[in-house]
Amino acid sequence: MSARGGRIALGAAVVLAAATLPFVAGPFWMGLVTQMIVFGLLALSVDLLLGHAGLFSICHGSFFAVAAYTTAILQVRHGAPTVLAAPAGLLAGTLLGLVFGLAVRTRGVYFILITIAFGYVVWGVAHRWSSFTGGDNGVTNVPFPAVAGVRVESHTEYYYLALVVAALCALGYRVLIRSPFGLALRGIRGSESRMRTLGFDSNRHLYAAFVLSAALASLAGVLYVYYNRFVNPVAASFPVSVEAALMAIVGGSGTIVGPFIGSAIILGLRNWVSSFFELYAAIMGIVFIAAVLWVPEGLVGLAARLRGRAARA
Protein backbone atom coordinates (compact mmCIF):
# COMPACT_ATOMS: atom_id res chain seq x y z
CA MET A 1 0.00 0.00 0.00
CA SER A 2 1.30 3.46 -0.78
CA ALA A 3 2.05 5.90 2.03
CA ARG A 4 -0.91 8.02 0.96
CA GLY A 5 -3.23 5.04 0.84
CA GLY A 6 -1.99 4.02 4.28
CA ARG A 7 -2.75 7.44 5.67
CA ILE A 8 -6.25 7.49 4.19
CA ALA A 9 -6.93 4.02 5.62
CA LEU A 10 -5.63 5.10 9.01
CA GLY A 11 -7.73 8.27 8.90
CA ALA A 12 -10.86 6.29 7.99
CA ALA A 13 -10.20 3.85 10.83
CA VAL A 14 -9.82 6.72 13.32
CA VAL A 15 -13.05 8.37 12.14
CA LEU A 16 -14.92 5.06 12.33
CA ALA A 17 -13.54 4.32 15.80
CA ALA A 18 -14.43 7.82 17.02
CA ALA A 19 -17.97 7.55 15.64
CA THR A 20 -18.69 4.13 17.10
CA LEU A 21 -16.95 4.64 20.45
CA PRO A 22 -20.13 5.52 22.38
CA PHE A 23 -21.66 2.17 21.40
CA VAL A 24 -18.84 0.28 23.11
CA ALA A 25 -17.73 2.53 25.94
CA GLY A 26 -19.79 3.42 29.01
CA PRO A 27 -20.56 6.94 30.23
CA PHE A 28 -17.45 7.09 32.42
CA TRP A 29 -15.16 6.42 29.49
CA MET A 30 -17.07 8.76 27.23
CA GLY A 31 -16.56 11.53 29.79
CA LEU A 32 -12.85 10.82 29.94
CA VAL A 33 -12.50 10.81 26.16
CA THR A 34 -14.40 14.12 25.92
CA GLN A 35 -11.96 15.54 28.45
CA MET A 36 -9.07 14.28 26.35
CA ILE A 37 -10.46 16.10 23.32
CA VAL A 38 -11.02 19.34 25.22
CA PHE A 39 -7.57 19.37 26.81
CA GLY A 40 -6.03 18.22 23.53
CA LEU A 41 -7.44 21.39 22.00
CA LEU A 42 -5.90 23.43 24.83
CA ALA A 43 -2.56 21.66 24.25
CA LEU A 44 -2.87 22.39 20.52
CA SER A 45 -3.32 26.08 21.29
CA VAL A 46 -0.21 26.11 23.48
CA ASP A 47 1.70 24.27 20.77
CA LEU A 48 1.03 26.94 18.15
CA LEU A 49 3.47 29.03 20.19
CA LEU A 50 5.66 26.24 21.53
CA GLY A 51 5.99 24.02 18.48
CA HIS A 52 5.95 26.66 15.75
CA ALA A 53 6.89 30.09 17.08
CA GLY A 54 9.29 28.77 19.71
CA LEU A 55 7.63 30.55 22.63
CA PHE A 56 6.97 28.66 25.86
CA SER A 57 3.78 30.17 27.29
CA ILE A 58 2.60 29.18 30.76
CA CYS A 59 -0.58 31.24 30.94
CA HIS A 60 -2.94 29.44 28.62
CA GLY A 61 -4.97 28.25 31.60
CA SER A 62 -5.92 31.94 31.91
CA PHE A 63 -7.62 32.17 28.51
CA PHE A 64 -9.20 28.77 29.07
CA ALA A 65 -10.55 29.81 32.47
CA VAL A 66 -11.66 33.33 31.54
CA ALA A 67 -13.63 31.90 28.62
CA ALA A 68 -15.13 29.20 30.87
CA TYR A 69 -16.06 31.69 33.62
CA THR A 70 -17.55 34.19 31.17
CA THR A 71 -19.73 31.57 29.53
CA ALA A 72 -20.73 30.06 32.88
CA ILE A 73 -21.59 33.39 34.53
CA LEU A 74 -23.64 34.58 31.56
CA GLN A 75 -25.46 31.30 31.20
CA VAL A 76 -26.10 30.57 34.89
CA ARG A 77 -26.55 33.97 36.54
CA HIS A 78 -27.96 35.96 33.65
CA GLY A 79 -29.80 33.21 31.88
CA ALA A 80 -28.11 34.08 28.62
CA PRO A 81 -28.67 31.59 25.80
CA THR A 82 -25.75 29.49 24.56
CA VAL A 83 -25.70 31.36 21.28
CA LEU A 84 -24.70 34.45 23.30
CA ALA A 85 -22.78 32.93 26.22
CA ALA A 86 -20.43 30.74 24.17
CA PRO A 87 -19.23 33.46 21.75
CA ALA A 88 -18.92 35.86 24.70
CA GLY A 89 -16.61 33.39 26.44
CA LEU A 90 -14.56 33.05 23.29
CA LEU A 91 -14.38 36.81 22.96
CA ALA A 92 -13.41 37.41 26.60
CA GLY A 93 -10.52 34.93 26.46
CA THR A 94 -9.33 36.38 23.16
CA LEU A 95 -9.46 39.95 24.53
CA LEU A 96 -7.33 38.82 27.44
CA GLY A 97 -4.94 37.39 24.83
CA LEU A 98 -4.70 40.85 23.26
CA VAL A 99 -3.44 42.14 26.63
CA PHE A 100 -1.23 39.23 27.67
CA GLY A 101 0.19 39.17 24.14
CA LEU A 102 2.37 42.08 25.16
CA ALA A 103 4.61 39.38 26.62
CA VAL A 104 6.00 38.82 23.09
CA ARG A 105 8.15 41.89 23.61
CA THR A 106 10.33 39.56 25.67
CA ARG A 107 12.02 36.29 24.78
CA GLY A 108 13.29 33.16 26.42
CA VAL A 109 13.19 32.92 30.17
CA TYR A 110 11.66 36.41 30.56
CA PHE A 111 8.74 35.41 28.38
CA ILE A 112 8.20 32.30 30.49
CA LEU A 113 8.34 34.31 33.73
CA ILE A 114 5.94 36.98 32.50
CA THR A 115 3.41 34.42 31.35
CA ILE A 116 3.64 32.62 34.71
CA ALA A 117 2.97 35.94 36.44
CA PHE A 118 -0.01 36.65 34.15
CA GLY A 119 -1.37 33.22 34.97
CA TYR A 120 -1.16 33.88 38.69
CA VAL A 121 -2.99 37.18 38.32
CA VAL A 122 -5.98 35.43 36.72
CA TRP A 123 -5.88 32.57 39.22
CA GLY A 124 -5.74 35.10 42.08
CA VAL A 125 -8.76 36.97 40.76
CA ALA A 126 -10.73 33.75 40.29
CA HIS A 127 -9.78 32.61 43.76
CA ARG A 128 -10.21 35.82 45.75
CA TRP A 129 -12.90 37.88 44.04
CA SER A 130 -15.56 35.58 45.45
CA SER A 131 -18.52 37.91 44.97
CA PHE A 132 -18.01 37.75 41.21
CA THR A 133 -16.33 34.40 40.58
CA GLY A 134 -17.86 32.36 43.37
CA GLY A 135 -14.44 31.88 45.01
CA ASP A 136 -13.33 28.30 45.52
CA ASN A 137 -16.76 26.94 44.68
CA GLY A 138 -16.74 28.69 41.34
CA VAL A 139 -19.83 28.77 39.16
CA THR A 140 -21.95 25.63 39.19
CA ASN A 141 -25.00 24.20 37.45
CA VAL A 142 -23.97 25.13 33.95
CA PRO A 143 -26.58 23.56 31.65
CA PHE A 144 -25.87 21.61 28.48
CA PRO A 145 -25.62 23.93 25.48
CA ALA A 146 -28.69 24.56 23.37
CA VAL A 147 -28.74 26.43 20.07
CA ALA A 148 -31.94 27.31 18.15
CA GLY A 149 -34.00 24.75 19.99
CA VAL A 150 -31.47 21.98 19.45
CA ARG A 151 -30.30 20.85 22.87
CA VAL A 152 -27.45 18.55 23.77
CA GLU A 153 -29.12 16.01 26.04
CA SER A 154 -26.34 13.66 27.13
CA HIS A 155 -22.62 13.21 27.57
CA THR A 156 -22.59 11.06 24.46
CA GLU A 157 -24.11 13.82 22.38
CA TYR A 158 -21.67 16.26 23.91
CA TYR A 159 -18.84 13.95 22.94
CA TYR A 160 -19.91 14.19 19.30
CA LEU A 161 -20.12 17.96 19.55
CA ALA A 162 -16.60 18.22 21.03
CA LEU A 163 -15.30 15.82 18.40
CA VAL A 164 -16.70 17.88 15.52
CA VAL A 165 -15.41 21.15 16.97
CA ALA A 166 -11.95 19.66 17.55
CA ALA A 167 -11.85 18.20 14.04
CA LEU A 168 -12.78 21.55 12.49
CA CYS A 169 -10.11 23.27 14.61
CA ALA A 170 -7.52 20.71 13.54
CA LEU A 171 -8.37 21.31 9.87
CA GLY A 172 -8.12 25.08 10.30
CA TYR A 173 -4.88 24.69 12.21
CA ARG A 174 -3.46 22.59 9.39
CA VAL A 175 -4.14 25.37 6.90
CA LEU A 176 -2.66 27.93 9.28
CA ILE A 177 0.65 26.17 9.83
CA ARG A 178 1.12 25.66 6.09
CA SER A 179 0.34 29.27 5.27
CA PRO A 180 2.98 31.96 4.72
CA PHE A 181 2.14 33.16 8.24
CA GLY A 182 2.80 29.71 9.74
CA LEU A 183 6.02 29.32 7.79
CA ALA A 184 7.13 32.73 9.03
CA LEU A 185 6.58 31.61 12.63
CA ARG A 186 8.95 28.69 12.11
CA GLY A 187 11.35 31.08 10.43
CA ILE A 188 11.28 33.34 13.47
CA ARG A 189 11.90 30.38 15.73
CA GLY A 190 14.85 29.35 13.55
CA SER A 191 16.48 32.75 13.20
CA GLU A 192 14.75 35.90 14.26
CA SER A 193 17.62 38.13 13.10
CA ARG A 194 17.45 36.60 9.63
CA MET A 195 13.68 37.07 9.44
CA ARG A 196 13.99 40.74 10.36
CA THR A 197 16.46 41.31 7.56
CA LEU A 198 13.98 39.63 5.21
CA GLY A 199 11.42 42.28 6.14
CA PHE A 200 9.44 40.53 8.86
CA ASP A 201 8.40 42.48 11.93
CA SER A 202 8.93 39.51 14.22
CA ASN A 203 7.18 41.02 17.25
CA ARG A 204 4.01 41.64 15.25
CA HIS A 205 4.03 38.12 13.87
CA LEU A 206 4.51 36.63 17.32
CA TYR A 207 1.80 38.88 18.75
CA ALA A 208 -0.67 37.71 16.12
CA ALA A 209 0.25 34.11 16.83
CA PHE A 210 -0.20 34.70 20.54
CA VAL A 211 -3.70 36.12 20.07
CA LEU A 212 -4.74 33.27 17.74
CA SER A 213 -3.40 30.80 20.25
CA ALA A 214 -5.34 32.52 23.06
CA ALA A 215 -8.50 32.34 20.94
CA LEU A 216 -8.07 28.59 20.50
CA ALA A 217 -7.43 28.15 24.23
CA SER A 218 -10.63 30.14 24.87
CA LEU A 219 -12.60 27.84 22.58
CA ALA A 220 -11.27 24.90 24.59
CA GLY A 221 -12.43 26.74 27.74
CA VAL A 222 -15.97 27.13 26.40
CA LEU A 223 -16.08 23.43 25.44
CA TYR A 224 -14.75 22.57 28.88
CA VAL A 225 -17.35 24.45 30.87
CA TYR A 226 -20.31 22.89 29.06
CA TYR A 227 -18.81 19.46 29.55
CA ASN A 228 -17.73 19.95 33.16
CA ARG A 229 -20.99 21.77 34.14
CA PHE A 230 -19.03 23.98 36.54
CA VAL A 231 -15.82 25.98 36.67
CA ASN A 232 -13.65 26.85 39.66
CA PRO A 233 -10.20 28.45 40.10
CA VAL A 234 -8.48 25.14 39.35
CA ALA A 235 -9.12 25.84 35.63
CA ALA A 236 -6.92 28.95 35.89
CA SER A 237 -4.23 27.29 38.00
CA PHE A 238 -0.57 26.89 37.17
CA PRO A 239 -0.78 23.09 36.73
CA VAL A 240 -3.37 23.43 33.95
CA SER A 241 -1.08 25.70 31.96
CA VAL A 242 1.96 23.51 32.54
CA GLU A 243 0.11 20.29 31.78
CA ALA A 244 -1.12 21.71 28.48
CA ALA A 245 2.50 22.24 27.45
CA LEU A 246 3.43 18.83 28.81
CA MET A 247 0.72 17.22 26.69
CA ALA A 248 2.09 18.86 23.56
CA ILE A 249 5.64 17.78 24.36
CA VAL A 250 4.77 14.20 25.30
CA GLY A 251 2.57 13.72 22.23
CA GLY A 252 4.76 15.50 19.73
CA SER A 253 5.29 19.24 19.60
CA GLY A 254 4.97 20.86 16.18
CA THR A 255 2.41 18.30 14.97
CA ILE A 256 -1.39 18.36 15.00
CA VAL A 257 -2.18 14.93 16.41
CA GLY A 258 0.65 15.14 18.95
CA PRO A 259 -1.12 17.40 21.46
CA PHE A 260 -4.25 15.20 21.33
CA ILE A 261 -2.19 12.03 21.84
CA GLY A 262 -0.36 13.74 24.69
CA SER A 263 -3.66 14.77 26.24
CA ALA A 264 -4.95 11.20 26.02
CA ILE A 265 -1.78 9.83 27.63
CA ILE A 266 -1.59 12.36 30.45
CA LEU A 267 -5.29 12.22 31.33
CA GLY A 268 -5.40 8.45 30.92
CA LEU A 269 -2.36 8.03 33.12
CA ARG A 270 -3.70 10.41 35.74
CA ASN A 271 -6.98 8.61 35.82
CA TRP A 272 -5.34 5.25 36.21
CA VAL A 273 -2.58 6.21 38.66
CA SER A 274 -4.78 8.33 40.89
CA SER A 275 -7.08 5.37 41.45
CA PHE A 276 -4.44 3.64 43.56
CA PHE A 277 -1.73 6.22 44.28
CA GLU A 278 -2.30 9.60 45.89
CA LEU A 279 0.89 11.20 44.71
CA TYR A 280 -0.04 11.05 41.05
CA ALA A 281 1.34 14.58 40.60
CA ALA A 282 4.79 13.17 41.35
CA ILE A 283 4.29 10.58 38.61
CA MET A 284 3.35 13.39 36.22
CA GLY A 285 6.59 15.14 37.12
CA ILE A 286 8.58 12.01 36.35
CA VAL A 287 6.76 11.61 33.01
CA PHE A 288 7.64 15.20 32.15
CA ILE A 289 11.32 14.69 33.00
CA ALA A 290 11.52 11.39 31.13
CA ALA A 291 9.82 12.87 28.05
CA VAL A 292 12.14 15.87 27.89
CA LEU A 293 15.28 13.77 28.48
CA TRP A 294 14.64 10.79 26.25
CA VAL A 295 11.82 11.57 23.87
CA PRO A 296 12.06 15.34 23.32
CA GLU A 297 10.38 14.95 19.92
CA GLY A 298 7.35 13.32 21.57
CA LEU A 299 5.59 10.10 20.66
CA VAL A 300 4.74 11.21 17.12
CA GLY A 301 8.39 12.07 16.53
CA LEU A 302 9.52 8.84 18.15
CA ALA A 303 7.24 6.85 15.87
CA ALA A 304 8.69 8.64 12.84
CA ARG A 305 12.21 7.90 14.07
CA LEU A 306 11.46 4.22 14.56
CA ARG A 307 9.82 4.02 11.14
CA GLY A 308 12.91 5.61 9.63
CA ARG A 309 15.13 3.07 11.38
CA ALA A 310 12.93 0.19 10.22
CA ALA A 311 13.03 1.51 6.66
CA ARG A 312 16.83 1.61 6.70
CA ALA A 313 17.22 -1.83 8.28
Binding site: P180, R194, G199
Partner: protein, 247 residues
Amino acid sequence: MTVAVEVAEVVKEFGGLRAVDGVSLRVAAGERRVLIGPNGAGKTTLFHCITGTLPPTAGRIAFFGQDITRLPEHRRTALGMGRTFQISNVIAELTCLENVMLAAVGIDGRKWVLHRPMAVFADVRERARAGLELVGLVHRADETARRLSYGERRQLELALALTSQPRVVFLDEPCAGLSPSERLRISTLIGGLPRDLTVVMIEHDMDVALGLADRVTVLHQGRVILEGSPDEVQSNSEVREVYFGHG
Protein backbone atom coordinates in the same frame (compact mmCIF):
# COMPACT_ATOMS: atom_id res chain seq x y z
CA MET B 1 24.56 61.01 -9.52
CA THR B 2 22.06 59.42 -7.18
CA VAL B 3 23.47 58.64 -3.74
CA ALA B 4 22.20 55.22 -2.65
CA VAL B 5 23.72 55.08 0.80
CA GLU B 6 24.98 58.02 2.79
CA VAL B 7 26.64 57.51 6.15
CA ALA B 8 27.48 60.67 8.07
CA GLU B 9 29.72 60.73 11.15
CA VAL B 10 28.41 57.41 12.42
CA VAL B 11 29.70 56.30 15.81
CA LYS B 12 29.03 52.98 17.53
CA GLU B 13 30.26 52.44 21.06
CA PHE B 14 30.17 49.22 23.05
CA GLY B 15 30.82 50.22 26.65
CA GLY B 16 34.05 52.16 26.38
CA LEU B 17 35.03 50.77 23.00
CA ARG B 18 34.44 52.84 19.90
CA ALA B 19 34.05 50.15 17.27
CA VAL B 20 32.98 52.71 14.66
CA ASP B 21 34.49 56.12 15.26
CA GLY B 22 32.92 58.78 13.09
CA VAL B 23 32.67 57.07 9.70
CA SER B 24 31.29 58.97 6.71
CA LEU B 25 30.85 57.54 3.27
CA ARG B 26 28.65 57.87 0.20
CA VAL B 27 27.90 55.06 -2.18
CA ALA B 28 26.45 55.99 -5.56
CA ALA B 29 23.54 54.04 -7.03
CA GLY B 30 24.86 51.16 -9.10
CA GLU B 31 28.30 51.32 -7.55
CA ARG B 32 30.31 48.30 -6.41
CA ARG B 33 31.90 49.36 -3.14
CA VAL B 34 34.22 47.14 -1.16
CA LEU B 35 35.14 47.78 2.48
CA ILE B 36 38.48 46.40 3.54
CA GLY B 37 40.47 46.64 6.72
CA PRO B 38 42.13 44.42 9.30
CA ASN B 39 40.15 42.47 11.90
CA GLY B 40 38.48 44.76 14.39
CA ALA B 41 38.39 47.67 11.96
CA GLY B 42 34.64 48.04 12.52
CA LYS B 43 33.45 46.85 9.11
CA THR B 44 30.75 44.45 10.31
CA THR B 45 29.62 46.86 13.04
CA LEU B 46 29.23 49.56 10.40
CA PHE B 47 27.13 47.12 8.35
CA HIS B 48 24.97 46.42 11.38
CA CYS B 49 24.37 50.16 11.83
CA ILE B 50 23.49 50.70 8.18
CA THR B 51 21.07 47.77 7.92
CA GLY B 52 19.53 48.42 11.34
CA THR B 53 20.73 45.35 13.21
CA LEU B 54 22.34 47.72 15.73
CA PRO B 55 21.38 51.33 16.47
CA PRO B 56 24.27 53.75 16.00
CA THR B 57 25.43 55.74 19.05
CA ALA B 58 25.64 58.89 16.95
CA GLY B 59 25.52 59.99 13.34
CA ARG B 60 23.07 59.81 10.50
CA ILE B 61 22.31 57.26 7.82
CA ALA B 62 20.32 57.97 4.67
CA PHE B 63 19.06 55.60 2.00
CA PHE B 64 18.30 57.16 -1.37
CA GLY B 65 18.00 60.50 0.39
CA GLN B 66 15.66 59.28 3.12
CA ASP B 67 16.86 59.48 6.72
CA ILE B 68 16.68 55.94 8.11
CA THR B 69 18.85 56.35 11.21
CA ARG B 70 16.03 55.35 13.57
CA LEU B 71 14.09 53.08 11.22
CA PRO B 72 13.65 49.44 12.36
CA GLU B 73 15.47 46.75 10.44
CA HIS B 74 12.44 45.22 8.70
CA ARG B 75 11.35 48.64 7.41
CA ARG B 76 14.78 49.16 5.87
CA THR B 77 14.36 45.86 4.08
CA ALA B 78 11.05 47.12 2.72
CA LEU B 79 12.85 50.20 1.37
CA GLY B 80 15.21 47.95 -0.57
CA MET B 81 18.08 46.75 1.60
CA GLY B 82 19.26 43.18 1.48
CA ARG B 83 22.13 41.69 3.41
CA THR B 84 24.13 38.60 4.12
CA PHE B 85 25.80 37.78 7.41
CA GLN B 86 29.43 37.03 8.06
CA ILE B 87 28.39 33.82 9.79
CA SER B 88 25.71 32.13 7.66
CA ASN B 89 22.31 32.95 9.07
CA VAL B 90 19.79 30.67 7.40
CA ILE B 91 16.79 28.88 8.90
CA ALA B 92 18.26 25.47 9.56
CA GLU B 93 15.01 23.55 10.05
CA LEU B 94 13.37 24.72 6.83
CA THR B 95 14.20 23.57 3.33
CA CYS B 96 16.21 25.79 0.98
CA LEU B 97 13.07 26.52 -1.01
CA GLU B 98 11.10 27.46 2.13
CA ASN B 99 13.94 29.73 3.22
CA VAL B 100 13.92 31.58 -0.07
CA MET B 101 10.09 31.65 -0.27
CA LEU B 102 10.13 33.55 3.03
CA ALA B 103 12.57 35.99 1.45
CA ALA B 104 10.16 36.34 -1.48
CA VAL B 105 7.16 37.27 0.71
CA GLY B 106 9.10 39.26 3.33
CA ILE B 107 8.26 42.67 1.90
CA ASP B 108 4.93 41.53 0.50
CA GLY B 109 1.52 41.71 2.22
CA ARG B 110 1.14 37.99 1.63
CA LYS B 111 3.42 37.26 4.58
CA TRP B 112 0.25 37.83 6.65
CA VAL B 113 -1.88 35.31 4.75
CA LEU B 114 -2.95 32.56 7.13
CA HIS B 115 -5.93 30.96 5.44
CA ARG B 116 -4.18 29.62 2.35
CA PRO B 117 -1.13 27.38 2.11
CA MET B 118 2.13 28.86 0.84
CA ALA B 119 2.05 26.31 -1.95
CA VAL B 120 -0.81 28.10 -3.78
CA PHE B 121 1.36 31.12 -4.54
CA ALA B 122 3.02 29.89 -7.72
CA ASP B 123 4.78 33.19 -8.37
CA VAL B 124 6.44 33.08 -4.93
CA ARG B 125 7.63 29.59 -5.64
CA GLU B 126 8.93 30.64 -9.05
CA ARG B 127 10.83 33.59 -7.62
CA ALA B 128 12.27 31.39 -4.90
CA ARG B 129 13.42 28.81 -7.43
CA ALA B 130 14.92 31.57 -9.56
CA GLY B 131 16.84 32.77 -6.50
CA LEU B 132 18.20 29.30 -5.88
CA GLU B 133 18.99 28.92 -9.57
CA LEU B 134 20.97 32.16 -9.49
CA VAL B 135 23.29 30.90 -6.76
CA GLY B 136 23.44 27.37 -8.17
CA LEU B 137 21.49 25.68 -5.42
CA VAL B 138 18.31 24.67 -7.22
CA HIS B 139 19.22 20.98 -7.11
CA ARG B 140 19.12 21.23 -3.30
CA ALA B 141 15.73 23.04 -3.16
CA ASP B 142 13.97 20.44 -1.03
CA GLU B 143 16.90 19.75 1.26
CA THR B 144 16.74 21.00 4.84
CA ALA B 145 19.18 23.88 5.26
CA ARG B 146 20.71 22.06 8.22
CA ARG B 147 22.08 19.44 5.84
CA LEU B 148 23.85 21.88 3.56
CA SER B 149 27.62 22.10 3.43
CA TYR B 150 29.32 25.25 4.64
CA GLY B 151 29.75 26.52 1.11
CA GLU B 152 26.13 25.77 0.19
CA ARG B 153 24.98 27.76 3.20
CA ARG B 154 26.94 30.73 1.90
CA GLN B 155 25.13 30.30 -1.42
CA LEU B 156 21.74 30.11 0.29
CA GLU B 157 22.61 33.19 2.31
CA LEU B 158 23.21 35.04 -0.94
CA ALA B 159 19.95 33.76 -2.44
CA LEU B 160 18.06 35.11 0.60
CA ALA B 161 19.61 38.54 0.23
CA LEU B 162 18.94 38.75 -3.51
CA THR B 163 15.39 37.34 -3.55
CA SER B 164 13.89 40.14 -1.45
CA GLN B 165 14.49 42.33 -4.54
CA PRO B 166 16.88 44.82 -2.94
CA ARG B 167 18.13 48.05 -4.47
CA VAL B 168 21.28 47.82 -2.40
CA VAL B 169 22.76 44.59 -1.17
CA PHE B 170 25.24 44.41 1.70
CA LEU B 171 27.48 41.36 1.60
CA ASP B 172 29.54 40.56 4.66
CA GLU B 173 32.48 38.46 3.48
CA PRO B 174 30.47 36.31 1.06
CA CYS B 175 33.55 34.28 0.18
CA ALA B 176 34.93 33.73 3.68
CA GLY B 177 35.95 30.16 4.31
CA LEU B 178 35.16 28.93 0.79
CA SER B 179 37.39 26.75 -1.32
CA PRO B 180 39.11 28.43 -4.29
CA SER B 181 36.59 27.03 -6.76
CA GLU B 182 33.57 28.06 -4.65
CA ARG B 183 35.18 31.46 -4.19
CA LEU B 184 35.48 31.89 -7.92
CA ARG B 185 31.88 30.86 -8.41
CA ILE B 186 30.56 33.38 -5.86
CA SER B 187 32.76 36.24 -7.02
CA THR B 188 31.73 35.60 -10.63
CA LEU B 189 28.11 35.61 -9.51
CA ILE B 190 28.56 38.91 -7.67
CA GLY B 191 30.41 40.39 -10.64
CA GLY B 192 27.53 39.39 -12.87
CA LEU B 193 24.77 41.02 -10.81
CA PRO B 194 22.75 43.62 -12.70
CA ARG B 195 24.45 47.00 -12.74
CA ASP B 196 21.44 48.85 -11.34
CA LEU B 197 21.88 46.88 -8.13
CA THR B 198 24.22 48.65 -5.74
CA VAL B 199 26.62 46.31 -3.97
CA VAL B 200 28.44 47.11 -0.73
CA MET B 201 30.73 44.31 0.29
CA ILE B 202 33.18 43.50 3.03
CA GLU B 203 35.94 41.29 1.70
CA HIS B 204 39.24 40.13 3.11
CA ASP B 205 40.52 38.53 -0.05
CA MET B 206 42.33 41.31 -1.89
CA ASP B 207 42.08 39.61 -5.28
CA VAL B 208 38.32 39.27 -4.98
CA ALA B 209 37.96 42.74 -3.49
CA LEU B 210 40.03 44.58 -6.04
CA GLY B 211 38.62 42.60 -8.94
CA LEU B 212 35.00 43.49 -8.13
CA ALA B 213 35.25 46.99 -6.74
CA ASP B 214 34.58 50.27 -8.47
CA ARG B 215 35.78 51.97 -5.31
CA VAL B 216 37.36 50.75 -2.13
CA THR B 217 37.03 52.15 1.39
CA VAL B 218 39.74 51.23 3.86
CA LEU B 219 38.78 51.13 7.53
CA HIS B 220 41.22 50.96 10.39
CA GLN B 221 40.38 51.14 14.09
CA GLY B 222 36.87 52.38 13.39
CA ARG B 223 37.91 55.14 10.99
CA VAL B 224 38.10 55.57 7.24
CA ILE B 225 41.76 55.96 6.38
CA LEU B 226 41.40 55.97 2.62
CA GLU B 227 38.85 55.84 -0.13
CA GLY B 228 39.71 55.48 -3.78
CA SER B 229 39.89 53.29 -6.85
CA PRO B 230 41.38 49.81 -6.46
CA ASP B 231 44.62 51.04 -8.03
CA GLU B 232 44.92 53.98 -5.67
CA VAL B 233 44.30 51.76 -2.67
CA GLN B 234 46.77 49.15 -3.77
CA SER B 235 49.56 51.65 -4.25
CA ASN B 236 48.95 53.61 -1.06
CA SER B 237 51.72 53.17 1.50
CA GLU B 238 49.55 53.72 4.58
CA VAL B 239 47.18 50.99 3.45
CA ARG B 240 50.05 48.65 2.80
CA GLU B 241 51.24 49.28 6.31
CA VAL B 242 47.96 48.68 8.21
CA TYR B 243 46.64 45.99 5.95
CA PHE B 244 49.61 43.99 4.80
CA GLY B 245 51.96 44.79 7.65
CA HIS B 246 55.40 46.31 7.20
CA GLY B 247 57.47 45.48 4.19
